[in-house]
Amino acid sequence: MKNKYLFVLLLLISITVVCSIGTFFYVKLNNEQTTNDDEILVMTSCNPVYIATLNILDGVEGYKVQNLSQPTTGCLHDYTLTTEDMKNLSKADVLVVNGGGMEGYLDDVVAAYPDLKIIDTYEAIEHSNGFIGMNELLIEEEELDHDHEDEEAHEEEHHHDHGANSHIWMDDRLYACQVAAIANELMGPNPNREETPISKNFFEYSNKLEDEIDKQGLDVAVANENVAILHEAFAYTAQSLGANVVATMDLDEERQVSAGEVSAFLDEIKEHNVKLVFAEYDYGNAMGKLIEEQTDAKVVYLETLVHGTYDKDSYIFVQNNNYMKIKETL
């Protein structure tokens, strides 16, 4: 009997030792640089607001910008925070979020870190905080023709999940508003805010966006044309070009489309004489081939700026690249 107790004791001690040694080496190999306590840590929830914040705080002393770990696949809506994210958030002073229901974990963060200042860019635009008329550019999901009835029950659980299409950065006018909202909140009620480095960066970046984003005449060529989309983010791309979205099928890695849905989508394309379909390559490739086979429409594969690693000029580069692909297809 004594042997048994000794065995259990030794077993638990061995597991503890192995786990401790393994964890120690794992942590040592993956050790990341820590933030200086004097710095204001600004966390961002996703790549678009990360890029915006990077530009606003570029070279500004006393700030550090860090992005939450990004999902390698799938949509941000379903992303759950990792332990590393939770650790970083507990040290953070500000969290910049896209908002509009994009960050499904936001309620948990608000509950867990009541002192964390949250800059919600969607909310700033929605409530027209200095962006007169821009809230009219926000697209409601109800306007898109796919079924979201089952999300209704969840609306109360989410901070902003009110049927909004929250991929607002895909319209460069709304992205410019996001940049302004972040800069505005970071500067705070400072009487000399115009002279601050943040203000200088904001004006520089805003001018850069205006000067360097090149729609290559698409806002004239595609204006009032009918388009179809295979990802709801591209509703904003279409809007920024003045095109009408007549059919939407939101595809991701977990979405199973029914035969009826596909045929209805193809019928819409034919009926409205759609020539352009905007899709994300990873999830829309198979459907794209089918559309090109069955209709006269051409499928353009665009980027949504959600996955991957980006630097501060990525927004302009990706948007220009998207516009160039559309132009080449025409």
């Binding site: 065995f7 597991i15 786990c19 942590v27 949509c75 867990a112 079924d147 089952d150 209704e152 969840h154």
Partner: protein, 267 residues
């Protein structure tokens, strides 16, 4: 290292939750293994999806309530049908579990939006809130009281139901009460542990303990020790390695199982 870990409120909450859930799993798991109800608890875990779906259809914002109601009804229905003896219990459980899971998946995947619920498959103990910890404390108290009041009768029934009946024990009531208890435990902890792993946490500590125990007292104590140890060690390792907590707990519990299996076999 540990000072830093406990400076985060979410880690304190997660540790408290683990210290509340794991002994319950260890304790209740012994009776599940003893009564050969592993498949039953697995079916209950899978039926959580249907509970959520029922909540969505009825417009219940807090789907935990609909999960509990559905889980309790599902457990009682399974017991009732099993007693009728029209088919073997594993076949019946399989039919009911598949049917309930398919129904839940069909409803939740309506419009292609199952991804909204996929988080429940693996669970997330790090996002547990104070209110939810209070729910677990109440559950802890309820199960503890039930356990001390009914353990002798449950053990007698698990050894020989007919003999227990002849001693004026209310076998049906006890079986139903135990099924409701499992339903409550599974439904209230599934959000933190995940559908895919909850049964492993219920079964592994008890099965490991059974490999080396010689009496029921030892069986229960070892099971609780293994469960608490796997839970706490899994949480700490997952914290430092940034991996999901549930799978890490199950991995450690599995190591314990294999070690006790080898030890028990050679005794």
């Amino acid at each position: 290292m540990f000072n830093e870990m406990f400076s985060y409120a979410f880690m304190i909450r997660a540790t408290i939750a683990i210290l509340l859930i794991s002994p319950l799993f260890g304790m209740v798991g012994t009776m599940i293994v003893q009564k050969r109800m592993a498949y039953f608890s697995d079916a209950l875990g899978h039926s959580a999806l249907t509970g959520i779906a029922a909540g969505v259809i009825m417009g219940i914002a807090n789907t935990t309530v609909s999960m509990i109601i559905f889980g309790v009804c599902f457990a009682l229905l399974l017991n009732y049908i099993s007693r009728k003896g029209l088919s073997s219990s594993d076949t019946l459980i399989s039919v009911f579990a598949s049917c309930a899971t398919a129904l839940g998946l069909a409803i939740l995947s309506r419009g292609g939006s199952f991804s909204n619920y996929s988080a429940i498959l693996v669970g997330d103990i790090l996002s547990i809130t104070v209110t939810e910890i209070i729910q677990l404390i109440v559950l802890f108290a309820v199960i503890l009281i039930f356990w001390f009041v009914s353990i002798n009768r449950l053990t007698a029934i698990s050894i020989h139901a007919t003999l227990a009946k002849s001693r004026s024990m209310q076998v049906r009531v006890m079986e139903d009460a135990f099924a409701v208890l499992i339903a409550l435990l599974v439904m209230l902890s599934i959000k933190w542990v995940g559908i895919l792993l909850i049964n492993a946490l219920l079964i592994l500590p008890a099965a490991s303990s059974r490999n080396i125990s010689e009496n029921f007292r030892e069986y229960t104590y070892f099971s609780m020790i293994f469960s608490i140890f796997s839970g706490v060690a899994g949480l700490f390792v997952s914290y430092f390695t940034d991996m999901a907590t549930g799978p890490m707990i199950v991995l450690i519990a599995s190591v314990i199982y294999f070690a006790t299996y080898i030890y028990g076999k050679d005794r």
